[in-house]
């Protein structure tokens, strides 16, 4: 199809190649270098989208990141992207885009009826109604009416990367100022990172290629700058890269779009879709430019109305005529740039409507010389045209700029280029907590005081709009940044680039609300936030209703809360509010600038931390063996632990019962590698352990082991485990599997912040050792066969450890037990783990050695009434509650949590205490988490709960169901009856001692 609005020449596009794309099901062509917006305009397509609330037809309003209207749904599932700004989507071959938020079609959108009812839907209407009978009735339809594009329905197949960068200087923005700063610092040898959101460098010079810099056309200067930067080895230039966030200490986030601009079939497979750069910069120069501010006039939202700078950009950068007959509305000289560009491109230019009383600047003079009709002191009082602008009405204003005279003269036009001044792009500066000041002359907020050291703002972003001045400022900032980063000058440096032939900016005329023939809010809308359909009348309504803080105005009307985050609307809203309240603009103030500058893909934040890589998966050296045995696994912390080993035909219940029985009857083996292991070394190690455990460790003899409980400051059990004294100044602490990292953190925190004088060093050795526990009547026999250790109870008593060889491998063996059977915990260096394990399995065959998983381990320990931290405890349980008074030292002057144990409520007899529970019929296994109550009746809630079941199993060794529970005052209630109300029935049960098996503890000794 012909690109009938493409100019015969000009623009930074490759006319030798054509790219096919489709929009709304129709095919078009464009060129490399086009954006979707420029290509659509080249084909005469102006109607692109519909607004959020009233579904008004909307076109292409800008040529950049500030676009409020031209949002499209790009691509198809699974690679579909909602709410993409057509002005920033680079065209590629085969691109498909669809309009969004309209039904049944873009041209004919039934939802536009909302527009007819707009009188009934002012800002905040939903706060005033939909209350009867309830909100639920209305919410569904309202939710469906809201939203813009459509979220993907299939998982994203693309890949994202994250990387870090460190540099001497980060320059944000590749326009003239950014280039000048990067060149100045780069020439000194500084490591410079220059990021530019656009696909190419040059910034606004791309739409004024014949401006003059250093005696050459700007386009050539940009090209030379690019080439020079590329030649500097320490300089890196990232295009298609948006600096979206600025945190403390010059830490910034950059999103690089790596392959989005490729046709899907030509996307390099080795590259990610997007890459997030996390930049730590010694110096930062913000050269993020400025965004044109639209004037707010009646019906200022029709397709065909666009920013004057955008009109220029489409003409000069993309060689596209954005209209056939144009009108320009401006309050400053830069509107004339567009007028001249339009005229030069052969567009029929009806007139320039200048809100100023007199148009007397260099550009307006030039326009007058070229015969462009200028109507100063005039306003556009309204527009017409449904799917495309058809005419605008122009009328003279009074001297105050508050009213117009006459009904307005209609002027036919299909393009209305508008300029209401410029807003420095201060987003990043403000994110870094810099404060703004209101510049009366330029009528804009500009950076005032920086809160970051080593930061400069230059060029348009600093309100320095004149090209020559911006170049000088940026050059100086680049040199200063280099200097500060330690790159001194040589004395024979190049001067700042000089711009030629530029004029000064004349002051603009501050009129935030362009008057119309009727008062604001009548007979048309003065849109402030176009995407959200927030009109000036909505702002005034908010003020009238008492929402006067600019934050209230924003939240009540939703102005500035659309996907463009108010880039073209915020300052207008502030201006209108200020005018109405009779306050100076700076007193109204700005709303907080938040990250990101433009929206950032979730996937880029996640990077590779998805698809199973969210958290490291930790496995033991014997993991493969467990898998080969068909083990089921459970997640414990980051670890995969063998849960049970079902044999063919066995369900979990049968397998666990078999494992439990085999261990008590003969011999079981457990992979206990995952238990946390921390080596505690140093002359103060014993003293340190005395402080972190409730019981005494300084008295522990070398070669012996002791079980310990750790408390938090509040006296609640935090972790437990056996700690062994390897040498006078060296202990091996074990922790729970899930708690290991927290315990290490906790210990380090105390060492580093509270007891820095202690000489204690902590090393995590969890993964250095493979640990296997053999347990059962035959454990001693097996160990005797495969090791050189003396196992008689004299030399190797319970709670001691020995070093020797097991299966030929040097091992630490601990005689400790979590099953109540005689047990040995064999630790060998991790790389021998599997070999030793297999040897034990082979040698143990004659004892029917049975691997058991965590479930059987839980049953075995519950039979003995041993707790599991995190199951019997939940952060609200003290050692006393657990009946473990014996482990709380009465002799030690202090340990962590001790003081808390003496608080009155910690000593009350009705605290929840650990007990055993047996069900009435003995066979019914209570669900874990069952609550316990006093009575059986169907009481009305709230039913007082006296406790809950923490662990519950079928015990094959006891031949009945057993459970552990925390019950109020439970230790004094042995034999009493309680009830467990479940979803479908109530189970009667009895309180017992928490030890169900071998109460005397004789089996420990074989």
């Amino acid at each position: 199809m012909a690109q009938s609005f493409r100019l015969p020449e000009g623009g930074v596009i490759d006319r030798s190649k054509s790219l096919r794309f489709s929009f709304d099901g129709r095919s078009y062509e464009g060129h490399p270098g086009d954006t979707l917006a420029s290509a659509l305009l080249a084909n005469g397509v102006h109607l692109v989208g519909r607004s959020f609330k009233y579904h008004r037809p909307r076109g292409i309003f800008s040529a950049g990141a500030e676009e409020p209207n031209a949002l499209v749904q790009l691509g198809e599932d699974p690679r579909t992207d909602p709410n993409q700004r057509a002005t920033q989507v680079e065209l590629f071959d085969g691109l498909t885009a669809m309009p969004q938020h309209c039904w049944p079609s873009l041209e004919f959108d039934l939802n536009e009826t909302a527009s007819l009812a707009s009188r009934f839907l002012p800002s905040g209407f939903y706060y005033k109604t939909f209350m009867w009978p309830n909100w639920k009735l209305f919410e569904g339809p309202i939710r469906h009416a809201a939203g813009l594009g459509r979220a993907p329905r299939l998982p994203d197949p693309d890949r994202y990367d994250k990387t870090y960068a460190h540099c001497d200087l980060l320059v944000v923005g590749g326009g003239p100022a950014g280039l000048a700063a990067a060149l100045a610092a780069g020439r000194r040898g500084a490591r410079v990172l220059l990021v530019e959101q656009d696909s190419t460098l040059g910034g606004h010079l791309l739409s004024s290629p014949d401006s003059e810099i250093d005696g050459q056309p700007a386009a050539e200067w940009v090209e030379a700058a690019r080439a020079e930067l590329e030649s500097l080895p320490e300089v890196r230039v990232l295009t298609r890269s948006t600096c979206f966030a600025y945190y403390d200490h010059n830490f910034l986030g950059v999103l690089e779009k790596v392959t989005d601009h490729y046709a899907p079939y030509s996307r390099p497979q080795h590259l990610p879709r997007q890459r997030m750069w996390k930049v730590r910069a010694a110096q930062v120069v913000l050269a993020s430019g400025a965004i044109e501010r639209p004037p707010v006039f009646r019906d200022n939202d029709r397709p065909g109305i666009m920013l004057a700078s955008a009109a220029s950009a489409y003409l000069r950068r993309w060689g596209v005529k954005p209209g056939g007959r144009a009108l320009v509305l401006t309050n400053n000289d830069s509107g004339y740039r567009a007028a001249l560009d339009l005229k030069n491109a052969g567009v029929d230019l009806a007139a320039v409507i200048d809100l100023r009383l007199a148009a007397e600047g260099p550009l307006s003079a030039q326009a007058r010389d070229e015969g462009i009709p200028i109507r100063s002191g005039h306003a556009v009082t309204g527009t017409q045209g449904h799917l495309r602008l058809r005419k605008a009405f122009v009328a003279p204003m009074d001297g105050e700029g508050r009213r117009v005279f006459g009904g307005g003269e209609p002027i036919e036009c299909d393009l209305l280029a508008v300029s209401g001044g410029w807003n420095p792009t201060v987003h990043l500066f403000c994110q870094s907590k810099g404060s703004l000041e209101w510049d009366e002359q330029l009528a804009c907020f500009r950076p005032a005081r920086s809160m970051q050291r080593n930061q400069a703002v230059v060029g348009g972003a600093n309100g320095t709009f004149a090209l020559g001045e911006a170049l000088r400022e940026a050059h100086a900032a680049g040199l200063q940044a280099a200097e500060a980063a330690g790159f001194a000058g040589s004395g024979s440096e190049r001067q700042a680039p000089r711009a030629g032939g530029e004029g000064d900016f004349l002051p603009l005329r501050e009129i935030y609300l362009v008057p119309s023939i009727q008062p604001v809010g009548q007979g048309g809308k003065h849109f402030v936030d176009q995407q959200h359909d927030v009109a000036a009348s909505d702002l005034l309504l908010a003020l009238r209703e008492g929402y006067r803080s600019i934050e209230h105005v924003k939240r009540y009307t939703t102005t500035g809360m659309a996907t463009d985050q108010g880039k073209t609307s915020n300052v207008n809203a502030i201006g209108i509010v200020a005018e109405h309240l009779g306050k100076p603009v700076p007193e109204v103030g700005v709303t907080t600038f938040r990250p990101p500058y433009t929206a950032v893909t979730f996937g880029a934040f996640a990077g590779r931390d998805v698809d199973g890589l969210l958290d490291p998966e930790r496995t033991t050296p014997m993991h493969g063996w467990h898998q080969a045995q068909g083990a089921a696994f459970e997640d414990v912390g980051q670890w995969k632990r063998a849960w049970y080993y079902p044999r063919p035909g066995e369900d979990m219940h049968t397998a666990v019962a078999r494992e439990v029985k085999a261990t008590r009857d003969s011999l079981g083996i457990l992979d206990a590698t995952t238990l946390g292991k921390i080596e505690v070394r140093g002359p103060d190690a014993a003293r340190f352990l005395d402080l972190v455990y409730t019981n005494m460790f300084s008295t522990l003899k070398v070669g012996r082991c002791r079980y310990g409980l750790m408390l938090k400051e509040d006296g609640m059990v935090f972790d437990d485990g056996v700690t062994s004294r390897l040498a006078e100044d060296r202990f091996l602490m074990t922790t729970t599997t899930g708690g290991a990292a927290n315990v290490l953190d906790w210990l380090e925190e105390w060492l580093q912040t509270e007891w820095p004088e202690m000489k204690v060093y902590l090393t995590s050795v969890t993964e250095q050792w493979a640990t296997m526990t053999i347990s059962g009547p035959k454990a001693k026999a097996l160990l005797g066969e495969v090791s050189d250790l003396k196992l008689d109870s004299e030399t190797f008593p319970h709670m001691s450890f020995a070093e020797g060889r097991v299966a030929g491998v040097k091992a630490r063996v601990f005689r400790i037990s979590f099953t109540g059977e005689m047990s040995f915990e064999i630790n060998v260096p991790a790389r021998y783990g599997l070999a030793v394990w297999e040897t034990l399995i082979r040698a143990g065959a004659k004892y029917a050695i049975t691997p058991y998983g965590t479930e059987a381990m839980h049953v075995l320990r519950a039979e003995k009434g041993f707790i599991i931290v995190g199951q019997e405890t939940d952060g609200s349980v003290t050692p006393l509650d657990l009946g473990m008074n014996w482990i709380v030292s009465k002799k030690k002057p202090d340990f962590l949590g001790r003081r808390s144990l003496f608080r009155p409520d910690m000593q009350k007899p009705d605290r929840k205490q650990l007990v055993g529970i047996e069900t009435e019929d003995g066979r019914e296994v209570l669900p874990e988490g069952a609550q316990l109550v006093e009575s059986n009746g169907a009481a009305r809630p709230p039913v007082p709960m006296v406790g809950h079941v923490t662990s519950s199993y079928w015990s094959p060794n006891c031949g009945k169901a057993i459970a552990l529970a925390l019950v109020k005052g439970g230790q004094a209630r042995m034999g009493q009856r309680l009830y467990a109300p479940l979803a479908d029935r109530t189970v009667a049960c009895t309180i017992t001692e928490p030890v169900f098996f071998d109460k005397a503890g004789e089996r420990l000794h074989g």
Binding site: T129, M131, R555, R594, P596, F605, D611, D905, P941
Partner: protein, 458 residues
């Protein structure tokens, strides 16, 4: 037929109202709340009819939602903090306890703190009896709040899922749901398939690392429009005569003989014998002014929203293990909650590493959302107590009451918190609902440890 008559009557009232100049704002609504205002056809009551009526006058006759009074030299009670909790306190003081000569002092703008920064989740499925009772009281108030305040707070009971990703989670969910039911709070345990049925957007594989094994569901849980809660309470309190004073930072608290005398503010000294402090994020600073200390730590908690899309997820999904929560606003944004920063601070931002972790967790649970884009990210300062439960209590200074320490979960409690705190301030003693939540409990050891129930690990 009836509707038509009603509409006619409403139009008639509009004409009447237009002849009365509704500017003064005095006695606009009487002291009994909205019913009287409605009965007399006052223009201020919100309804579909008042909306229609005002449409014909181009919305030029709406009254201010609240006045902007000059502070009086003395009030019967002063509430510091114009967030949801503070405004709710003032409302219930006036409504339930007849205290109308009271003021709310707000440093900045109403609802500008955590009220306007949270992820708007409302639920009451707390584990411990003490918390359950308090949050359930809030839930009951939520259920009638829009109509009580005559302000649509868009309370949307779309259901809250708390996912289980391991056996430990499953156990905890069982325990909590059992406890909830016995406390009269709705709760269900869902298996994985039921989770998928309830929330089709979810990926049960959850990326593969921590598959979804089940969930608890509270159907009465959901979301509400956070700003509207502050505004609705402010408007209703104002109508009952409460002075709401914005841009009025408190600079000092005068105490004599262990009793509060008044507050120094940027707008002058205000005398009062009852001072309620409800300033999440700055509680310890205000306590310091009054001369006592609080066991709270202030940390930044962040949240973020995506660009708006058509309805994509129909309920609230929370995961403690994978560590993120998500819902979709009525506007269409995915609203995502994140963890707290790893250090204390007052910067209302939230650090990038936490954003990365949270968004990664969302991408894991919802691979379909990986292409969605973060539109805005922000932070608020939460005051966290050692047991992750709030303090609604008298203080060592007579006449000073404090409501703080809600940590990461204060929004859902707003009505209940205000209701109980109002009782405490008015009667100088806690209501049984908040009696357990004393400041003293850290001395006595009566802790209410809700770390397990908090959606965010503290």
């Amino acid at each position: 037929m009836r509707l038509k008559r009603w509409f006619k009557a409403a139009l008639h009232r509009r004409v009447a109202a237009d002849t009365i100049q509704p500017e003064t704002g005095i006695g606009r609504c009487g002291t009994t709340g909205w019913s009287e205002g409605a009965a007399t056809g006052m223009n201020k009551r919100y309804s579909i009819f008042s909306l229609a009526r005002n449409a014909f006058s181009r919305h030029e006759n709406w009254q201010e939602a609240w006045r902007s009074p000059t502070p009086k030299p003395r009030y019967d009670a002063v509430i510091i903090g114009g967030g949801g909790h503070g405004l709710a306190t003032a409302y219930y003081l006036a409504k339930q306890h007849g205290m109308t000569n009271i003021a709310v002092l707000e440093r900045g703008w109403l609802g500008g703190g955590n009220t306007g920064r949270n992820t708007t989740i409302v639920r009451s499925n707390y584990l411990w009896d003490e918390s359950a009772a308090l949050y359930e009281q809030a839930m009951k108030l939520w259920e009638g709040l829009s109509r009580e305040l005559n302000y649509n707070v868009m309370f949307s009971q779309r259901g809250v899922l708390n996912l289980a990703h391991n056996l430990h989670d499953l156990r905890e969910i069982q325990r909590r749901v059992n406890a909830n039911r016995l406390n009269g709070i709705d709760g269900e345990v869902l298996d994985a398939q039921q989770v998928k049925d309830f929330c089709p957007a979810i990926d049960l594989r959850a990326g593969g690392r921590y598959p979804v094994l089940g969930a608890s569901l509270q159907r009465r849980g959901g979301t509400a429009r956070h700003d509207a809660v502050a505004w609705g309470y402010a408007r209703a309190a104002d109508a009952l005569g409460v002075d709401i004073i914005q841009e009025c930072p408190v600079q000092g608290i005068r105490v004599a003989d262990g009793k509060v005398q008044g507050v120094e503010t940027a707008r002058g000294y205000i005398e009062t014998n009852k001072l309620g402090i409800v300033v999440a994020g700055h509680s310890s600073l205000l306590a310091e002014m009054a001369g006592f200390r609080l066991p709270v730590q202030s940390v930044p908690l962040q949240a973020l929203v995506s660009e708006p899309v058509k309805p994509a997820i129909n309920c609230v999904v929370m995961s403690g293990a994978v560590h993120a929560y998500i819902s979709q606003s009525d506007k269409g944004e995915l609203v995502i909650g994140a963890g707290v920063d790893k250090y204390v601070g007052y910067g209302q931002r939230g650090s990038q590493p936490v954003t990365e972790e949270t968004v990664a967790a969302i991408c894991e649970m919802f691979p379909i959302f990986r292409r969605m884009r973060m539109m805005r990210q922000w932070g608020g300062i939460v005051d966290v107590c050692p047991d992750a439960s709030p303090i609604i209590s008298k203080t060592p200074v007579e006449g000073i009451y404090i409501n703080c320490g809600w940590g990461t979960g204060g929004f859902k409690a707003t009505p209940g918190s205000g209701w109980a705190f109002a009782h405490t301030v008015a009667r100088n003693e806690p209501h049984p609902l908040n009696a357990p939540f004393t400041l003293d409990r850290y001395r006595t050891g009566y802790l209410i440890d809700e770390h397990g129930a908090a959606a965010v690990a503290h």
